[in-house]
Amino acid sequence: MIVYLYDRTFDGILTAVFDAYSRKTFPDVLLGEGEQLPLFCEETHTVITDEAKARRVWKALRKKLSAAALSCLTISYLSELPELDMPLFRYIRKTVDSPRSIETNFADEDVLMVTNTYRKVMHERHRMLQFVRFQKATDGTYFALHEPLYNVIALGISHFKDRFADQPFLIYDKRRDYGYYYDKETLTRVSFAEKLPHFLTGKLNEELMAKDEKLFQELWRTYFKAICIKERMNPRKQKKDMPTRYWKYLTEKQK
C-alpha cells in the first residue's frame, strides 16, 4: 500500500496529484501529517505543498472541466471529511487521464461521491442562511453564533453582506473558532483568543443587549408559538427540516 501524507489543504491535494504523476506511483491512501499509518504500508511519501505545482495541476483541470465542476471540487473540500480525500484525488486523476470531461458521469463512484458531498456542503450553507439568528448589542452590532457541520461560514457570508449592508454584524463559527465581522463597509475575518461568555453560550448578557432586544426576542417567540396549528402537530417533520443540533442558538427555541 502506498501512502501519501499531506497537510490537509486543497493545495496539498493538488500537489499530491503533481507528485504522483512525476513519481509515477499513485497512492492508495491519503493521510494527514501525523496520522496513524495503516498496518501494511510499503511506501510513504510526504507531500510538501507547493503553490506553483498546485497551480499547474489546477491549470490542467481548467482546460477540461467546466466552471461549475471546478467549484464543485473546491466547495466539496469544505466538508473537511477525511473520506473525501481519495475520491477527490481519483476524480482529478481521471479527469487528467480522460480525453474529455468526466464531470457528468455519475455512474462513476468518485464523481458521484464528490458531487454528493458538494450538495451536502451547499445544503449546509443554505442552513446557515436559514438558522443564523442575530442579537443586537448595545453598540449596534448584530451578533450571531453558529455551529455548522461543514466549514461553510465563508460561503454564506456574502449573502449576509448584501442583505444587511447597513448594519454591522459578527457571525462566528464556534466549532472552527473564526468568524467574519462586517463594519458597514468591509468584511474582516476575525478570531478571538479570549472567550467572552456569549461566544460559548451564544446568548448576549442582558447588560450587553440593546434596549429593545429582549422585547423583540419575546415577540418572536410569541409569534413562533402562535403560528402553530394545534390540530396539525407534527414534531417529526419539524425535526427533519430543522435538526435539533441547530436549536441551541435559535431564539425561538430558547426559554
Binding site: 418572536w220 403560528i227 396549528i229 430543522m242 425561538e252
Partner: protein, 422 residues
C-alpha cells in the same frame, strides 16, 4: 412597541395562520444602495419550522382581524366571538424591519379582514407596503393578499411594491362558495386575479422596450383551496388547478386541509381530524403537473375522480398503465424516465447525463438515489430481470408496495390474565 403589541401580535398571528402560502421564492433581487434586504429566488429560505412542521419564511400576519364578511369556513367571520385587534402602520413596519434585521424572516406576508369595504381595506394594505418600500427602503420579500372585490387602481399600485400577490379561491366550486360565503362569488375572486395578470403582462412588455421600467409582482401570483370542507372531488380541484397553471402568472396553488374551526356551523362537515393525507396526495399530484409533465386527465378522470390515499398518484398512474412498462433506463426518453415510480427529477437528470458514458445498471441507480424498492418493478437495464409489473400483475405489485400495517402489540408476547386484586 410595548407589551400590548405582544398581545396584538398573538391575536393577529392566530388569525392569519390558516393561510398556507409562505414561500419566498420567485424573485431574484440584490440589495440597493442604502436599502435593507435582498431576495434569493430559487427555493427561497425557510427560517424556522413551527411545531406543526410548517415552515416559517415570512412574517404572516393580518393588519386586522375585524371582518364584515361571514364566511362559514373562516375563523375571523364576523359572527365568531374571538379577540379582535388592529395593528398600527408603525407597529407593523417596525415589527417587520426588526425581525428581518435579526434574520428571523424573509419578509412580510400581509393580509387583512375586510373592514368597511374592500377598497378601504386594500388601500390600507397598499399604504403599508408602500411605506416599507419607499420610506424604510425595505428590499426583502413582500407577499400581499389582494382583497376580493378590490378595484383595479389599487391592485395596480400594490403590484409595484409587492413581490407576489394572491387571491384565495378557497372553495373550488361556485355554488358551494356561494352557500358557504354568501358575500363572495367567483367574480370577486377571479377579477383581481385577472387584474394582476394583466399588470404583469403589461410590465413585462414594457420591460422589453425600457430596461428600467418598474417590475410588477415579479414572483407572480398564488392561490389557495380548502380541501374537505365541501363535497368536491379531487378531480374538480385538480382540474381547476391545471386551468390556473395554464395562465401565465399563476405560480402556485396551495391546498389546505379543512380544519374545523367553526364546529357549530351546520353547513360544514364534522371532521375529527383535518384530511392531511388527502392534502398530501393533492400536493403530490400538483408536483406531477408542474415538474413531471403529467396532464391532469392522466392523474384524475371520470373513472378515477379521487386520488388513491394509500399510494402516491405517480405509482397509481403506473399501475393503471402497465403497458408503458418496463422502461429501458439506457434508452428511454427523459419524459418516460420521469414517469417511473421511485425516480425523481434529480435522479432522472443524473441518469440521462450518465448513460452517455456507458451502460447503467441497477447498482448505479441505487447509488444515484433511485428508490429501487419501487422502481424495480418498472424498469429494465440489461440485467437478469426481476419480475416486473407485467409478470406480477398490477394488483400484486400494489400489495407488495403498500406500507406494512403497524402491529400494535407483539403477538409473540405471552399475556396472563391476573385476577383483580381485592
Amino acid at each position: 412597541m410595548t407589551e400590548q403589541t405582544l398581545e396584538k401580535l398573538r391575536i393577529l398571528t392566530e388569525s392569519a395562520k390558516y393561510d398556507v402560502s409562505c414561500s419566498s421564492s420567485g424573485t431574484v433581487r440584490s440589495n440597493k444602495q442604502g436599502g435593507v434586504g435582498n431576495t434569493l429566488g430559487g427555493i427561497g429560505i425557510c427560517h424556522s419550522f413551527s411545531d406543526d412542521g410548517r415552515c416559517i419564511s415570512l412574517l404572516k400576519i393580518m393588519l386586522t382581524n375585524y371582518c364584515i364578511y361571514d364566511c362559514a369556513y373562516c375563523i375571523n367571520r364576523r359572527s365568531n366571538d374571538i379577540p379582535r385587534a388592529t395593528l398600527s402602520v408603525t407597529e407593523l413596519v417596525e415589527l417587520t424591519m426588526e425581525f428581518y434585521r435579526r434574520n428571523y424572516i424573509e419578509g412580510l406576508f400581509l393580509s387583512s379582514g375586510v373592514v368597511r369595504n374592500p377598497d378601504y381595506t386594500m388601500e390600507r394594505l397598499v399604504r403599508i407596503v408602500k411605506d416599507l418600500r419607499t420610506i424604510h427602503r425595505f428590499n426583502g420579500y413582500i407577499h400581499l393578499k389582494s382583497i376580493p372585490g378590490a378595484s383595479r387602481e389599487l391592485i395596480n399600485e400594490a403590484g409595484r411594491y409587492a413581490d407576489r400577490m394572491s387571491v384565495n379561491i378557497e372553495i373550488p366550486n361556485e355554488d358551494s362558495l356561494k352557500r358557504l360565503a354568501p358575500e363572495k362569488d367567483f367574480q370577486s375572486v377571479f377579477q383581481p386575479m385577472k387584474f394582476i395578470q394583466q399588470g404583469v403582462l403589461e410590465s413585462s412588455e414594457e420591460r422589453k422596450k425600457f430596461r428600467y421600467a418598474p417590475r410588477f409582482v415579479p414572483a407572480g401570483q398564488s392561490t389557495q383551496m380548502i380541501v374537505g370542507a365541501t363535497a368536491d372531488s379531487d378531480k374538480d380541484i385538480l382540474h381547476l388547478s391545471s386551468t390556473l397553471y395554464a395562465r401565465p402568472t399563476m405560480r402556485r396553488v396551495y391546498y389546505s386541509g379543512y380544519i374545523a374551526v367553526n364546529t357549530y356551523d351546520k353547513r360544514l362537515p364534522v371532521l375529527k381530524q383535518p384530511p392531511l393525507v388527502r392534502e398530501n396526495r393533492l400536493y403530490q399530484a400538483d408536483w406531477l403537473l408542474r415538474f413531471y409533465q403529467f396532464k391532469v386527465d392522466e392523474i384524475v378522470n371520470d373513472a378515477h375522480p379521487d386520488l388513491d390515499l394509500e399510494i402516491d398518484p405517480k405509482l397509481s398512474w403506473a399501475l393503471r398503465h402497465p403497458e408503458c412498462f418496463p422502461v429501458d433506463i439506457n434508452k428511454a426518453d427523459y419524459e418516460m424516465i420521469l414517469r417511473i415510480p421511485g425516480v425523481g427529477v434529480k435522479s432522472a437528470r443524473l441518469i440521462v447525463s450518465s448513460r452517455r458514458f456507458g451502460r447503467l445498471t441497477s447498482y448505479h441507480l441505487k447509488k444515484m438515489g433511485v428508490v429501487m424498492k419501487k422502481a424495480k418493478y418498472f424498469i429494465t437495464c440489461g440485467e437478469l430481470e426481476a419480475r416486473g409489473v407485467n409478470e406480477l400483475r398490477p394488483e400484486r405489485v400494489r400489495e407488495l408496495l403498500l406500507p406494512a400495517p403497524k402491529k400494535k402489540t407483539d403477538d409473540r408476547q405471552l399475556s396472563f390474565q391476573f385476577p383483580d386484586e381485592p
